[in-house]
């Protein structure tokens, strides 16, 4: 299947390893990714939407029109981009007045929102379109590690626009991690927020770090050896966050942070270097050793 790859900001501009891993792993599962040339920030729902809903909707509509021109559904790798694009797509498809208003502005840049494509998260594509069975078949090397699987918030909520069913006790991501050979460890407050979103990380870093600190404590208590996530902002919060916590609070968690396609890439046989795992702020050398690469 072909999908329009929406990159967002954090992946290409801060964690390109995730981009590299995704571009390598997905074609092996039959998913061809085509670039959305000229895409901008989704725009980030926590900041831009908090400032002004109008520009938020306009920016998102413009991004969606790029995919519509390509005639492809969008795949996004970030919970925040998923929230923005999926919600904007839904609003514009169902509220005629808003759509008319937005299209009037888009006309000035020779664009139009038609409502012809869907927005999917990486996890959605892998679970529903590719399937756990196909992922299992692509595994060449089992990654035997204890993983704290982290879903994040906007992947699951608000539940009305999401295909998952359960928002309190989902299992699909754990399934996708287990099939790579890892053990998903249960931990306290697993479904609670990482603390990055909603403009909190930029507006009140200390509060944000206190929140992620709680998550890290719970993961450590449960004996996790790494964190596996599907959102670059959670990834950044856990990764860069640990370095900031070490500096500000003097606590070292030493918990490697791995994005799902990086774990998938390792299981498929790619090297950690190819997948950018060594570029994390947290030290992943012990993780690489632990899994025997």
């Amino acid at each position: 299947m072909k999908l329009a790859l929406y990159l967002g900001c954090v992946i290409p501009n801060r964690y390109p390893g995730i981009e590299a891993a995704t571009r390598k792993a997905l074609p092996k599962l039959g998913v061809e990714l085509l670039d959305m040339n000229g895409a901008s920030c989704c725009p980030a729902p926590g900041v831009i939407r908090s400032f002004d809903k109008k520009i938020w909707l306009l920016t998102a509509a413009r991004n969606l029109s790029i995919a519509e021109e390509m005639g492809l559904d969008v795949i996004t790798l970030c919970n925040g981009c998923y929230a923005s694009l999926k919600e904007a797509n839904h609003i514009l498809k169902t509220e005629e007045e808003k759509r008319k208003e937005v299209n009037m502005s888009l006309a000035e840049i020779s664009r139009e929102f038609k409502g012809s494509i869907k927005v999917k998260h990486l996890a959605e594509v892998l679970y529903f379109d590719v399937g756990v069975k196909a992922i299992k078949e692509a595994v060449k090397r089992k990654i035997q590690v204890k993983a704290a699987v982290f879903y994040g918030c906007h992947l699951l909520k608000p539940r009305e626009l999401r295909p998952w069913g359960s928002v309190e006790k989902p299992t699909f991501l754990d399934e996708m991690v287990k099939v790579l050979g890892a053990e998903s460890v249960p931990y306290r407050d697993k479904m609670m927020c990482c603390g990055a979103g909603g403009a909190l990380r930029s507006g009140a870093l200390d509060v944000s770090l206190n929140i992620v600190c709680e998550r890290l404590e719970a993961m450590k208590e449960a004996g996790a050896e790494c964190i596996v996530n599907v959102c670059p902002f959670c990834h950044l919060q856990f990764d860069l966050g640990q370095r900031q916590i070490a500096m500000k609070l003097g606590e070292n968690f030493n918990m490697p942070v791995i994005y799902y396609t990086q774990l998938l890439g390792l299981a498929m046989g790619f090297t950690p270097q190819e997948l950018g795992i060594h570029m994390n702020a947290t030290d992943c050398k012990s993780f690489i050793e632990r899994i025997g690469i």
Binding site: S166, V167, E168, K169, R188
Partner: protein
């Protein structure tokens, strides 16, 4: 008295301003007095008052009136009142016609001119119709003095006992193997802390031994026919597979290899496939659960048979169908609770010590041992409002369960008494303690060191086999609190028992939007259903505790006694009849009658007046036009249609409204002061099935530009039948040059009057675009319909 002899008196009510503030009643009076045959036209403050009624009596006795029109509130309020007025003056009560110019006029429209014009139309219609009224006599038939009580919980038991003590014969039908209901599962009742079984069991035994009460357990009502005062009920008794000589010794149970979650223990422990529901079960005999018994499921075992000393086991028993004749029916079907699995954040089902309040009752009776290990708990959390008071339809219901607060307080107090060093915590949004002794009981809990946190629990998470985390905000402090408990009890929301909806359909009564049985009038007739002769009591109507249930059951018994005590019931004369000379015995009516009221003899068809419910569906369907309906004859209906359509505002919409549910809904719109356009004028019909192509064409010919059929949901004229009927008429309309879009139909329940508002607005808007019916078409129609027997004045 023929139509030409009609001497009509019209009385227009001010209703203390409710009508006269909007409708210019004097102008109406003047217009109406011009109509042919109107001898007297008066307005008065309150026509229903004594002096108002005397005015009418005087008109009949002294002014030679032989037809009366009262233009006032809805006939649902005072039809009987004014019929009695006519009767007292010596005039047949069926010479009355009412025009609803309040609920369906002055309370709906603000535009005075429009409301006045509409009032004139409606009254003119009534005047034209009443001309053709005939004298009718209701049949008086004897009422059967037996009563059917459906449901053997406390409501059904008390109702049965009260009626039996009054001397009525009662059939008590209970679908489970024993009577007793949920009350039998409770430990103690609040606030008096009576032992529930101690107060219930004597009633159960009294009922079972009473010579006037016959209990059918493991039985269900499968069909109900007949009419108020004379119902025929079919009850299916399911087999127990155990004969009456069972000694209830319990030997069989010891040897049965099958384990099934025990319903009486609310799923906390198991019973066998051969079992007695609980020790005090009435009747006491054991029962075999055929869905789990190995003999029935796999054709093996039958161990119980070998050990039964009384040789009471009989695997060959079959369903037994019993026919009962009763005069009144009481629905006491009780309640269920919402499924707490819906609250994923509460982890119900993921830890043995997260249970419902009903399950905790069984824990209390069993000695306060935790489900996980049987040991007494140390720290207990009571979580209130699980699935109550919520707008989230996926998780629960809007309304308060009424008993959750008091049940939790009771449970906490009993817990504290039984396990002295226990630490009970009640997490609540509100404490509702409004009954007698309730607030004092709340204080008792506070005295017993029960902790109260005002904050709804956000999350319940099992930590390990002994520990469960509960999180809430203490809103009084404004701080989030977390506690680790070894037992968590959920006060789950109350819903009507599963079969209530099905049973309501069988009984011909309605349930509200919340699924509970809808009472006839919220304040003044709270235990009568919408159908005469059918009553209800207990949680079938709304959630309540044992005391209120008893009160209601006693009230219901009184209402039933009043109904049956009359000894006779008058059967409405508003039934169909066949003109033998026109009938060619084609038999179409026999097929389409929803209550099978037509009977065929050797050469003609006739109507059984006791079975006929007067729906009128047969009338337009008879190819020979041989059927007519008393008090809604072709003459009367066509005259009314022409009377209403003659004048008024265009575009004109005539709405034919089914006389019970749909009419009540339209009245409710008025009572709620909703609004729809004044060009919509309503004509009451028994059902919209009474209306055929002839009537629709007559309406258009006389001045209508649009027609709506508004049917009541749940009646004999079903939604499917209505749709089919209207579709057929739409096809025919084209042939007369009438756009089919001018005819609409809807089906509504009483609370859904929004549907009436919407369809009125939709058709009005549509007619704005279509315009009024073309004059050519109307002229042609007038010519054609005159051959369709428009009555002469």
């Amino acid at each position: 008295m023929t139509a030409t002899d009609a001497q009509i008196g019209v009385y227009i009510c001010h209703c203390g301003g409710n009508i006269s503030d909007t409708v210019d009643v004097e102008k109406v009076r003047q217009e109406i007095s011009k109509l042919q045959g109107v001898i007297v036209a008066k307005t008065y403050e309150y026509v229903c008052s004594d002096p108002g009624q005397e005015m009418i009596v005087k008109g009949i006795r002294e002014e030679g009136l032989n037809r009366i029109v009262v233009a006032s509130c809805s006939p649902r309020m005072h039809l009987d009142t004014f019929r009695r007025t006519l009767q007292s003056a010596g005039l047949n009560p069926y010479f009355l016609e009412m025009a609803n110019i309040r609920e369906q006029c002055s309370w709906i429209h603000n535009d005075k001119e429009a409301a006045t014009s509409k009032a004139i139309d409606l009254i003119r219609g009534a005047v034209e119709r009443v001309r053709h009224h005939k004298p009718l006599e209701p049949k008086r038939i004897a009422i059967n003095r037996n009563v059917l009580v459906i449901g053997g919980g406390i409501a059904g038991i008390i109702t049965s006992i009260e009626l039996a003590d009054k001397g009525y014969k009662v059939y008590l039908v209970e679908k489970s193997p024993s009577i007793g209901g949920h009350m039998a599962q409770l430990s103690k009742t609040f606030p008096t802390l009576d032992c529930s079984s101690c107060i219930l069991t004597p009633k159960m035994v009294y009922a079972s031994q009473h010579s006037n009460i016959k209990i059918f357990s493991l039985a269900e009502v499968t069909a109900i026919e007949g009419s108020p005062g004379n119902y025929r009920v079919l009850v299916t008794k399911h087999p127990r597979y155990i004969e009456d000589n069972c000694l209830a010794c319990g030997e069989c149970t010891k040897y049965c290899p099958v384990k099934v979650p025990c319903e009486f223990e609310a799923g906390l422990s198991h019973r066998k496939a051969i079992y007695t529901p609980f020790k005090q079960a009435v009747p006491r005999t054991y029962v075999i659960d055929k869905d789990h018994c190995l003999h029935f499921t796999k054709g093996v075992c039958r161990v119980c048979e070998r050990f039964c000393k009384a040789k009471a086991i009989n695997f060959n028993q079959k369903d037994e169908v019993i026919e009962l004749e009763v005069g009144a029916i009481v629905a006491c079907t009780g309640f269920d609770q919402i499924d707490p699995h819906k609250f994923e954040e509460y982890s119900y089902g993921l830890h043995p010590n997260i249970i419902t309040n009903l399950q905790f009752e069984r824990v209390m009776v069993g000695g306060f041992g935790k489900p996980s290990d049987g040991k007494p708990p140390k720290k207990v959390a009571f979580v209130l409002c699980v699935g109550s008071r919520t707008l989230d339809e996926n998780k629960g219901v809007k309304y308060c369960c009424k008993i959750g607060c008091m049940a939790a307080i009771k449970q906490a107090i009993l817990l504290q008494k039984a396990v002295p060093d226990v630490d009970p915590w009640i997490f609540y949004t509100d404490i509702r303690a409004d009954g007698k002794g309730y607030e004092e009981f709340y204080m008792t809990a506070q005295e017993h060191n029960v902790h109260f946190v005002r904050g709804r629990v956000a999350e319940i998470t099992p930590i390990n086999k002994d520990e469960i985390l509960v999180r809430a905000e203490d809103t009084f402090f404004g701080k989030v609190v977390e506690g680790v408990f070894d037992l968590v009890i959920l006060s789950t929301g109350i819903i009507p028992s599963q079969d209530t909806g099905e049973l309501a359909k069988k009984l011909g009564i309605q349930v509200g939007g919340d699924g509970f049985i809808l009472e006839r009038h919220y304040k003044l007739r709270p235990v009568d259903s919408q159908r005469e002769g059918v009553f209800a009591a207990g949680c079938a109507i709304s959630p309540k505790d044992v005391r209120e249930t008893t009160l209601e059951a006693m009230a219901t018994a009184s209402r039933v006694a009043t109904f049956l005590g009359q000894g006779e019931i008058s059967v409405s004369p508003e039934v169909a009849y066949v003109s033998a000379e026109k009938c060619d015995n084609c038999g179409i009516c026999i097929d389409i009658c929803p209550v099978k009221a037509f009977e065929s003899s050797s050469e003609k068809v006739s109507v059984n007046p006791l079975s006929c419910v007067g729906c009128g569906i047969c009338v337009p369907k008879c190819p020979k036009q041989a059927i007519d309906l008393n008090h809604c004859t072709e003459e009367q209906l066509l005259a009314q249609i022409h009377g209403v359509c003659e004048g008024g505002i265009h575009p004109k919409i005539i709405a034919f409204v089914e006389k019970n549910t749909a009419y009540a809904s339209a009245d409710l719109a008025g009572q709620s002061r909703a609004s729809y356009p004044p060009n919509v004028e309503m004509i009451m019909v028994p059902t919209t099935g009474r209306i055929g192509l002839k009537h629709v064409l007559n309406a258009f010919a006389a001045g209508a530009d649009g027609v709506i059929c508004i049917e009541g949901h749940g009646g004999v004229f079903t939604e499917d039948a209505l749709r089919e009927h209207v579709d057929e008429m739409k096809k025919e309309l084209r042939k007369y040059g009438i756009e089919p879009l001018r005819l609409l139909s809807i089906s509504t329940t009483i609370p859904q009057y929004d549907k009436i508002l919407n369809v009125s607005a939709t058709l009005t808007e549509r007619l704005r675009k279509l315009g009024t019916l073309s004059e050519d078409v109307r002229a042609k129609l007038k010519a054609e319909t005159s051959s369709l027997e428009v009555p002469q004045k």
